[in-house]
Amino acid sequence: MSIDYEVIRLAAFIVGIIGFVALNAAYLVWLERKEAGHIQRRIGPKEVGPYGLLQPMADGLKLMSKQLLVPDGVDPVLFKIAPILVMTPAIMSFVTIPFSETLAPRNLDVGLLAVFAFASVNVLGLLLGAWGSRNKYAVISAARVVSQNVAYEVPMLVVIVTMVMVTGTLNMHDIVTQQMGGFWQWNIFRLGVSPLMPVAFLIFFVCMLAETNRAPFDMAEAESELIAGVFTEYSGMGFGVFFMGEYANIVVGTSIATVLFLGGWSCPFGLFPGVHWFLIKMYLLIFTVIWIRWTFPRTTFYGLLNLSWKILVPVSFFNLILTSALLKVF
């Protein structure tokens, strides 16, 4: 009996997560265009359906109706599995993310570790896609993606180590339950543990932007310098899947930020915790991600590496040392 229940649970979560990811990918594009429009004092999509709400369907239909070109000279296997390699880990990461007290696919004790293990496959997908394309622009861009990801994984993981020290667990469910009961309990505001908590959040957020290849760190695409970067040779839905993977990664990144720093599904005033609070916090963060994109121009590559190695890495290490010292003292 219990096995049956497990199977049904599993199937429900697979369907649920894939639906959630697909809907998010589709409607984040819509949100992005609307938000970009309003920041530039335009309206954004409005013709297809009310408020342009059917626009993602139309875009999807357009992408699917396009021919999937596989150019001569590419490595056909790498070329074809690369989009899947970007998309799959993004979906897999959702396995451990707790949306609420009960709504979590799997309550893993090493949940945080698992997410970061999956997340690192994303780079591999981009690298293989570019390498398989045998296109100079794509290969240059892939080299940039890898050095960017290495540069930003370091401060991000240092921040994670700090957070793990503070919370004492890798289990995301426990991390959230520690932060219940008002926003002053959230990790971002626990200044008693370390006065640099908001800075840690900021570092995590910046690294997340860089990891998901979002502007101002969108060196992977760099459409003005490298045509379309790693996606240069991709057409139709092959490109579409890369694109969906990017948005899925944003959802994963903001979910982790919500869990680690903003108290997950807990209410800011200590009342009625639930999945709605998780979603509100997550979408506010996503709104900020898009807002950042339409505020700052793309940095240069030197600027990007300088920011990471000269500022984020030292500051995050300083935060680690300070936090561990304070934890030892008190």
């Binding site: 920041i39 004092r41 335009r42 309206i43 807002w291 505020t295 500051v315």
Partner: protein
């Protein structure tokens, strides 16, 4: 070291200032016009193709068929005709054709008209599939817009 810290703090601050500016714009009303659904009211000085002026008192055009506009037009794109009706003091217009494909919008016809029977329209949405669509029968247009 202090310069390094100062740079970080002022740099971060400037990023937040930038985001403050964009969010301010986000909440301001949009300024673009939804073109096919909305149209801009044209400025009074805008020169569209010429058209006949409607005379309220007479209930028709103001033209006295003096042919001045036709003669003065450097491009020769006006052709008009008139006839003297029974009991009327002046001739009245029976045909006024403007070939807008050759009109240079010089305005000489508007200038020269003794009765101010011509003006520039505010029409800027003109598009067509063939040359013939730009050979306007201005008399017909006048009647259509005031019927």
């Amino acid at each position: 070291m202090t310069r390094y810290l100062k740079e970080i703090i002022s740099g971060t601050w400037s990023l937040f200032v930038g985001m403050g500016i964009t969010i301010k714009y986000f909440f301001q009303p949009v300024v673009t016009l939804q073109y096919p659904h909305e149209a801009v009211p044209m400025t009074p000085r805008y020169r569209g193709h010429t058209q006949l002026v409607w005379d309220e008192r007479k209930g028709g055009d103001k033209c006295i068929v003096c042919n001045a506009c036709m003669k003065t037009c450097p491009s020769g794109c006006i052709s008009l005709a008139g006839e003297k009706l029974e009991g009327a003091k002046q001739k009245s217009l029976t045909k006024y054709e403007l070939n807008f494909t050759t009109c240079s919008l010089c305005g000489l016809c508007v200038e020269v008209c003794p009765t101010e029977a011509l003006e520039f329209s505010k029409d800027y949405n003109i598009a067509g599939r063939s040359e013939d669509e730009f050979k306007y029968d201005l008399l017909k247009r006048l009647k259509e817009t005031h019927s």
